[in-house]
């Protein structure tokens, strides 16, 4: 194969690789070689492969038809009355947000290593950092991490840089996925992720457990989440700093909740992480997501990830740049604060554009309305025998947990699905051998949830559980 004629390559979308007449021939001639093969003379024969064994390329129209056929086998959320939520939510994204994301100057650019050529992205990231600082009440934010769970992992490693000890405390109610991610981040340095039991009535952290653990002088940090893994707000978080003393305190917070809740910086958080997907990003089957990370200024030099700073240019005009890079892997290598190279810049842009388009009043109203819907769903489901709803006696915003008295969560959810209701998700760890939890489901409303959706859920649940108890 000499690669001179496109038809000979069998490549589908010819336009993606330039091929003006004589182009490759001219390149080869300049190099004084007869064929591209000569450029692979350094690949030993024994290391070569014959062919990949994949299909021939497709033209664009055929690719679209094929992918659409696959995507048609999905049933998007709008086909259901959906009550799925938790860390990942499905909220309406104003068209204006995506139109900015589709500016190719943003989405096709690389990490802004050359600040003079990348002021646009740098300024957007600076605005993003500022917004996360405003929401959390902390001092500095980085320019994003992969997702909320890995941000929590990085926060744990930061705590270990600040404090001696081997044990990191997390709520037992933390979603199993996040516990698993944290345990992986703990593996390298040999740390223990230990679960704090919760009060069976309220779901709140057992503060006595924390007190005892901290007194043993082996705890180097604690993570609390707001809302917690049950969707509820644990008043105990406001007490934790006084128990922890100098032990670093991480809060994992839903950004929308922070439009109505006391910023964690006010009650002693040293680090605030979160999942930012709910701000302008489609759920996309779970990725890409957006890891949020803020901390106190005194911990800046041991912080993970890219950070944008304001400075001036040679004329003294305002300018922005990646800064404090001596913490990072491309400079510090094995002694870096993190291995982060790629982050989630474009999603950070979505976050700040979404917040700006919706505005601070709109965001708070959205949270208020989601909380109202959640209360309506909770009381509707609570009227059914066989469901304890909400399961826990503590405040909640847009999501809450129900417990089934006589049916497994998976069976219940599957029967709901057949009635076109996605009733939430089971909180159980799906891995074989995981401890059997009571059948609990996290239920969340979204901005598209209507009164009719709620009635449909309650009716379907009542019929599945075969009882019409209560007063509804």
């Amino acid at each position: 194969m000499d690669g001179t004629a496109r038809s000979a390559t069998g490549s589908g979308v010819a336009r993606w690789i330039p091929d003006e007449p004589g182009e490759e021939a001219a390149l080869l001639e300049a190099l004084g070689i007869p064929s591209i093969d000569a450029l692979f003379a350094d690949v030993p024969k024994k290391a070569r492969i014959g062919r990949l064994g994949i299909a021939a390329g497709l033209e664009e129209a055929d690719v679209v038809a094929h992918v659409d056929k696959l995507l048609d086998r999905n049933r998007p959320l709008s086909k259901f009355s959906s009550f799925l939520g938790g860390r990942i939510s499905a909220r309406y994204v104003p068209a204006a947000v995506d139109s900015i994301l589709q500016r190719s100057e943003f989405y096709t650019s690389y990490t802004p290593y050359q600040p003079e050529a990348s002021q646009g992205m740098l300024r957007a990231l600076f605005e993003f950092q500022s917004l996360w600082v405003e929401l959390t009440g902390l001092d500095v934010a980085n320019a994003s991490l992969y997702d909320g769970s890995t941000a929590a992992g990085e926060a744990m490693l930061l705590c270990r840089r600040l404090h001696e000890g081997q044990r990191f405390l997390v709520p037992a109610s933390l979603p199993w996925e996040e516990k698993s991610v944290l345990r992986n981040y703990a593996t390298g340095p040999g740390l223990q992720v230990e679960e704090i039991p919760y009060d069976p009535r309220t779901g709140n952290l057992d503060l006595e457990f924390v007190r005892t653990a901290v007194a043993a002088h082996d705890v180097f940090g604690l993570l609390g989440d707001v809302p917690n893994g049950f969707g509820h707000i644990d008043e105990g978080l406001w007490e934790l700093k006084s128990i922890l003393g100098t032990v670093p305190f991480v809060v994992s917070a839903d950004p929308l909740s922070l439009t109505v809740l006391d910023p964690p910086g006010n009650y002693g958080a040293d680090v605030v992480v979160g999942e930012g997907q709910g701000f302008g990003i489609a759920p996309s089957y779970g990725g890409p997501l957006l890891g949020l990370f803020a901390c106190r200024k005194e911990h800046l030099r041991v912080t993970p990830g890219r950070i944008v700073g304001a400075t001036v240019d040679a004329d003294g005009a305002p300018a922005y740049t990646l800064t404090l890079q001596t913490r990072e892997q491309h400079i510090r290598r094995s002694r870096a604060t993190s291995n982060i190279c790629t982050n989630q810049s474009l999603l950070a842009l979505a976050f700040v554009v979404y917040a700006s388009v919706v505005g601070p009043r709109g965001l708070a109203s959205l949270q208020v309305s989601l909380a109202e819907k959640a209360r309506t769903v909770a009381s509707g489901l609570g009227s059914i025998d066989g469901i304890q709803s909400p399961r826990f006696e503590s405040p909640y915003l847009g999501a809450f947990t129900i417990e089934l008295r006589s049916m497994g969560a998976e069976v219940f959810l599957d029967r709901l699905r057949r009635r076109r209701v996605l009733g939430g998700h089971s909180l159980a760890d799906p891995r074989p051998g995981a401890p059997a939890d009571p059948p609990r489901v996290l239920v969340a409303g979204s901005d598209s949830t209507t009164e009719k959706d709620i009635q449909k859920y309650v009716r379907a649940a009542r019929s599945i559980l075969g009882a019409s108890g209560g007063t509804a």
């Binding site: 000979a8 069998g10 490549s11 589908g12 390149l27 190099l31 591209i36 450029l39 690949v43 299909a55 390329g57 690719v63 999905n74 959320l77 799925l84 139109s99 900015i100 589709q102 500016r103 190719s104 100057e105 690389y110 003079e116 990348s118 992205m121 605005e127 950092q129 405003e134 997702d147 992986n184 593996t187 406001w238 922070l258 109505v260 759920p283 996309s284 779970g286 890409p288 950070i307 700073g309 304001a310 400075t311 001036v312 240019d313 040679a314 740049t321 870096a336 291995n339 790629t342 989630q344 810049s345 474009l346 999603l347 842009l349 700006s356 388009v357 208020v368 405040p395 599957d414 051998g433």
Partner: protein, 495 residues
């Protein structure tokens, strides 16, 4: 080329409209007083058009692949097909929740499954997971798998060392440290791994040797089979950093070269957009030894149904929420099936042809430290510039004035004043010639003009030293600084 970037004296978003300090945040019934936010979030209330204008203006002060040749070495800045952007925004792709029942996401699972099968062919490794969010994330997960493997064999106490060449990407040693290993650098000889040094470095303490091939000098490690044998004979694992896979698609693959585990960067080789730094999408590919340790869940096919399988007792567990960056996986799938068998090989062949041609053109102006037969990228050394009182950094800035993006500079560190250039297969001969012409104008310009560059961008040379010395990292910091400025003019810029 005459080039002038837009320069908007665009205020920051919070200066476009006053926020409303003091306005109370709304109350949620049943929420105790102490848990409430007192003042509403300080952020401006703006019309949609005002927001759009602000970010459109910012975008005009940014290079992207669709505005400029983007020659960053090791970053593989190729065209990101527009059709993928359209498809990733279909309802059937975007409007899927990771917790929805598998029966309602069969298309997504099938797409992931098909992409994984395709990537087993591309990597030559039988087991693939799409869970990592990025390349470095994949490195880290792979090293946790290596750890778990040696733990199960009772060798972890002893095998504590990760070896890497001095040309390795910075993420390699950083990931190794995070995974609890110590690192040891193997010196290079003529830009490639010195086999003798490697032979004397491997031992029963070696857990893993991390290598990218072609390496960051753009050279194919021709001793790869001997390297694999050396590492395996010592009982270690061979790790493939897939950042430079673009050069060898369909020519060779990690499996054939003897690697046990690999990560790929779909945002490089498979043309998913870099998004100003992310999102990326990482791939983990593993051979039989490490396959059982891949993160859960795995996508499996039972009959005609696809599902997520959590029953992998040796798995390291989860490394992120949900399963991979589906939106990016879809784009990578589009790229792969569009090119197909011959097309993917053509990608590598043309990328390598472009790189060798541009290397030849730019090699007339600055020395090339190693062999001139290169793969996807090549190195130059800016050392001769020093005699004229000019640094590589000045040359990079001067290139920006030509409307093209600068190469990666000062990496790898084994070359003094390193300049690492990569223009992949989607750049035409015309683009390469224009890049070479721009490079010639830049490198032959006067020292004064080089040091004063850039002149044609939204800002002049950015003072990075000041940014690090006086960290100003958010709106709050700026307000504080403005408060101080009221007492006197701001300090003049450092030279």
């Amino acid at each position: 080329m005459t080039f002038r970037q837009a320069r908007w004296d665009e205020p920051s978003i919070w200066d476009l409209a006053p926020s409303t300090p003091g306005e109370p945040a709304p109350a949620i019934p049943g929420l105790p007083e102490r848990m409430r936010r007192r003042e509403r979030l300080h952020w401006p209330e703006l019309s949609e058009l005002a927001v759009l204008r602000h970010y459109t203006r910012l975008s005009q002060m940014n290079f992207g692949i669709e505005t400029s040749s983007y020659a960053l070495g090791s970053c593989t800045m190729k065209y990101n097909p527009r059709v993928s952007e359209v498809l990733a925004r279909r309802k059937g792709a975007g409007e899927l929740h990771p917790n929805q029942p598998e029966s309602t996401a069969q298309g997504a699972l099938e797409l992931l499954w098909r992409l994984e099968r395709l990537l087993t062919k591309v990597t030559g490794l039988p087991e693939v997971s799409l869970q990592p969010a990025a390349g470095a994330h994949g490195e880290y997960a792979a090293l946790l798998m290596v750890r778990a493997y040696f733990r199960d064999r009772g060798e972890l106490e002893r095998r504590t060392e990760v070896l890497l060449p001095d040309t390795a990407h910075g993420t390699n040693p950083a990931s190794a440290t995070m995974a609890g290993f110590s690192t040891r650098e193997i010196p290079s000889k003529d830009g490639c791994v010195d086999l003798e040094s490697l032979k004397s470095a491997v031992s029963d303490r070696t857990a893993c040797f991390m290598l990218t091939n072609p390496n960051t000098a753009g050279l194919f490690e021709s001793n790869i089979l001997e390297i694999a044998e050396t590492v395996h004979r010592a009982g270690g694992m061979l790790y493939y950093d897939g950042a430079n896979l673009n050069a060898i698609l369909g020519i060779t693959h990690p499996g054939r070269m003897g690697f046990d585990v690999a990560h790929l960067n779909l945002h490089k080789t498979f043309a998913t957009p870099h998004g100003g730094g992310g999102p990326g999408a990482g791939v983990l590919a593993a051979g039989e030894k490490l396959g059982p340790y891949l993160p859960v869940p795995r996508v499996v096919k039972n009959g005609r149904k696809f599902r997520l399988d959590y029953d992998r007792p040796k798995s390291i567990g989860k490394i992120k929420t949900a399963y991979g960056n589906f939106g990016l996986d879809l784009r990578a799938y589009v790229f792969a099936i569009s090119h197909g068998e011959a097309g993917l090989q053509h990608v590598a062949r043309r990328a390598v042809l472009n790189s060798n041609y541009l290397g030849l053109r730019l090699g007339r102006f600055l020395p090339r430290p190693f062999s001139t037969l290169v793969k996807h990228e090549f190195l130059l050394s800016g050392t001769p510039l020093k005699a004229r009182g000019v640094r590589t950094l000045d040359l990079a800035k001067r290139l920006l004035d030509e409307g093209v993006h600068a190469p990666t500079i000062y990496f790898p560190s084994l070359v003094d004043e390193a300049i690492m250039v990569e223009l992949p297969e989607t750049e035409s001969k015309r683009d390469l010639d224009e890049y070479a012409a721009a490079f010639e104008r830049a490198v032959t310009d006067t020292p004064e003009r080089l040091r004063a560059a850039p002149q044609h961008l939204a800002v002049k040379r950015v003072d990075e030293v000041r940014a690090a010395r006086d960290p100003t990292l958010c709106w709050k910091d700026l307000r504080q600084r403005t408060g101080n400025a009221e007492k006197g003019p701001p300090a003049p810029a450092a030279p």
